[in-house]
Symmetry: C2
Subunit: 202 residues, 2 copies
């Protein structure tokens, strides 16, 4: 039996810096892949089914929704996109490590399905600092910023049921802490025992 | 309530490089302290009770042994030395992070007492490599080396119930992995929640 793939699940309030941190993580761990989503949109030139996306009909997609097959799904510009639980389970069996950037609601669905994973919540250092960061982006209207902050205040208590909390105060330090979590996950006994037992014939 | 102290428990077969790794770890994490042992020997000049050792009479020590108060204890040159479970629990309450270098038997006693801790097993990359390392020390007789190897072969399967396994193939990489485990332990939700809930008033 080959090594099982790891699932690294990351959630964060908008503005906490999750995207930057995730990009840094993938650079540091080239074996860490994003999961392949399902979509109802047509493949573009060069896109491969099962590699870029799992391309399905709206009917197929809605059937999967009704069977609770997605950890999360959304409609974007009239097309449906979703993260299928079965894809995560297949990656685990195939030994592929997956990085999944997903909101709290989606993460909780995975937890409720007893999907094995390392659940990480990225925190802003404080609400005033989150506000400062959202305002300095200057791309969002005051209304949008207020909504994001209200949402963050709601989401932060959700961190409690995650395995780890990374406070993004200084980006580099937060990046180190996030990398440490992934490194530690790789050498958890449950994730490495198969390899050890072969090495030592036990 | 202040932050609880972490307990980092490290075991390894003789020759796996545990002492070097532990020294490196303490350098990297100055807040990580060795636990204060009990001993029946007399204090030396300048040694303070409760700081260098807990100095007790042989009678007191034996009483603690009979009450299963030690995770491990041993007689060295006619004096008794022991790691008391109560000392580890007190450090946790005091918010002191402890590094405990202890054999498998002692570690298992802690597990059986449901002592919260991060249990790490340091592995040699292989038995032949372990033999090579023990032989290159040149301080040990052939008999001693054979006994150490036989002991290692017995101990390695114990790794299964530890939380993490660090294979000491390349010292620097093993050191990084060990540090990652400690960093991750520091930001486990259960260890950081008190601080978070204060920061965000939740």
């Amino acid at each position: 039996m080959q090594k099982e793939g790891l699932l690294i699940v990351i959630s964060a309030p908008s503005g906490a810096g999750k995207t930057t941190l995730c990009n840094g993580l993938v650079k540091r761990f080239p074996g860490l892949k994003e999961s392949v989503s399902y979509t109802t949109r047509d493949p573009r030139q060069g896109e491969q089914d099962g590699v870029d996306y799992h391309f399905v009909s709206t009917e197929q997609f809605k059937k999967m929704v009704s069977e609770n097959g997605f950890a999360e799904w959304a409609e974007v510009h009239g097309n449906l996109y979703g993260t299928a639980i079965s894809v995560l389970e297949q990656a685990r069996r195939d030994g592929v490590d997956i990085l999944l950037d997903i909101d709290c609601q989606g993460a909780r669905i995975l937890k409720n399905h007893s999907i094995k994973g390392t659940f990480i919540f990225v925190m802003p250092p404080s609400i005033p600092e989150l506000r400062r960061r959202l305002e300095s982006r200057s791309s969002d209207s005051v209304d949008v910023i207020e909504r994001r902050i209200a949402r963050a205040v709601e989401e932060i208590p959700e961190a409690r049921w995650y395995d780890y909390i990374v406070i993004n105060d200084q980006l580099e330090e937060a990046q180190e802490r996030l990398a440490a979590i992934v490194t530690a996950a790789q050498i958890k006994t449950e994730n490495i025992w198969e390899q050890i037992s072969k090495m030592f014939d036990i």
